[in-house]
Amino acid sequence: MELQTTIYLVVGATFALYIAIAIWARAGSTSEFYVAGGGVPPVMNGMATAADWMSAASFISMAGLIANMGYGGGLFLMGWTGGYVLLAMLLAPYLRKFGKFTVPQFIGDRYYSKTASMVAVFCLLTASLTYIIGQMTGVGVAFSRFLGVSSDTGIYVGMAIVFMYAVFGGMKGITYTQVAQYIVLIFAYTVPAIFISMHLTGNPIPQLGLGSDMVGSDVSLLAKLDQVVVDLGFGQYTTTTAGSTLNMFVYTLSLMIGTAGLPHVIMRFFTVPTVKDARSSAGWALIFIAILYTTAPAVAAMAKLNLHGTVNTAVTKGGDLFAVESSIKNEDRPDWMKRWEKTGLLKFTDKNGDGRIQYYNDATKNTEAKAKSAAAGWKGNELEVNADIIVLANPEIALLPNWVIALVAAGGLAAALSTAAGLLMAISSSVSHDLIKGIFVPDISEKGELLAGKISMAVAIVVAGYLGLNPPGFAAGTVALAFGIAASSLFPAIMMGIFSKKMNKEGAIAGMLAGLFITLFYVFAHKGIFFIKGTEFLPLIGGANSFFGITPEAFGAIGAIVNFVTAYLVDKVTAEPPEHIQHMVEAVRTPRGSKAVSGAH
């Protein structure tokens, strides 16, 4: 069968499945709409959380980033999984015991303050909206690459699909669809990896293959990769850090705290039946996430080796990497390269005019590589490779059958759609429950609130679609912002609300604002005020990464520390929280007496 037809069939089948689930799981009450009735078993909730969490970025971009960064890329692996330990121990069980629908509701009740709740709503909406832009563009990209339609059409189709199961099914529809989406995306990710691992190392399990010897030799795959990339002037794969060690340290911590503070992730733990389930549910979520996250480094290293092997025959055959005949002739390049050149993700420029492809690091500080490449008459790197190719073109690089390629298309779409739906849920529940019911129309009926929830969901989808179609210039920097906000404002406020009985509203509000302000200040200094080009103010803070060489993406942990310190100091000089709040904190700490989640105040 034609590749294109196979892709249509596989993607069409998965969409039909999602819609069937949507029809089955319609939400009839606010409890079903916001928290799926609070009755999702932990294993299934874990699977839905995993799909919710793993976005287009995890599925499409992460392995490519790791391939480029080598060891330093581990900060994404550790940062985006280690946060679940924090969630399971510090937040999830207590928020489940608290038993309400949204994160701002917890902050508002715990700090007996509408202002605190408003600050939380603001943080939640900013973090979720910026995050969703990336998902919508991801949907567009996946559609245009695989289905041959324009990116805009792709976003419309994606919006329509999400609309069907999110608006009618609410959290219930979203949760059960996410379970299906998880299964699709995990197959799509692991199947090509198994084939490739088998091919390179003879071991079908990628996690073991990465630590094995190359087929027919006693050199380990990583040692081989290290040697090839170092010879070609790149940094050694297994040891190159991401900036300084301090930056890697802080970056990892920021991603962890940010993960634990992202509202669309926290919200998942309101849907399990008991406090006990909330604890183990985080573990199940992490198991399902780990299947992809431990495969990713194998995909990264193996695809990198494959890519070098494709353009330089000496990589697999041995011999001199710099010999003339080692670099393949452009006309002999494989078909998949020609296909991806059309998308612009792969680009060949024959700088020295010899008709052969030289792929190496021309900016290297390695004098030996520099001398050898100059002696061979190489005039600069001739192949530009977009990081996304590592996953998207992986099955083609390894010459796998068409159905595997189709599966990857369906998997990419599942990853983007499931995360978009989770974010939309966080946005709409916050608007309908925290803003409409909490502030503007407190005596709204349940039916009215359910309708308000559905309308805000529909509006959120349109807004997200609009932002996806017209991505603001800052789209690339936004995920860093979402994590920064979650880490510097939401996480510390929730954590202190549980672990300190005496933390009062003045402290919490001051802390959230201080954390938010310092983080935005540092990010905007690098990327422009509200990401408007030309408004960067680096000289004011003393140049790029001036705070101990920490990059703006890694700054969330510093923001969190500022939040904690400010809250502590302000708390010391203002009045204690009222007696009943302190009792409430005590009650939240013990599981006994947990009730089904309800939104009632």
Binding site: T81, V85, G283, S594
Partner: protein, 84 residues
């Protein structure tokens, strides 16, 4: 009840500190700060420090969460604050 509440909370915190200590050590110790030292040891074809950063920590996180969940259930029962 007041005393047992306090004892329950301090048992919870002790468990928390223990888990956090392991979490911190594997991530920031083995995975980042002392990675060069661990890289001298090999696990199959993996340098150990690299393995921690790209594989091992994730497995350990999973184990930590389930150990935490199990121990917390025991603590809940010991202080008679478990659900149902």
């Amino acid at each position: 009840m007041e005393d047992s509440g306090k004892a329950y909370w301090s048992a919870t915190l002790r468990l928390l500190y223990g888990i956090m200590a392991v979490w911190t050590f594997v991530t920031f110790g083995a995975g980042i700060l002392f990675v060069d030292f661990f890289n001298k040891i090999h696990l199959g074809g993996y340098p150990l420090g690299f393995w921690f950063a790209h594989q091992g920590t994730i497995y350990i996180y999973i184990a930590l969460i389930f150990i935490y969940a199990k121990k917390m259930n025991e603590i809940d029962r010991r202080f008679d604050v478990h659900e149902d």
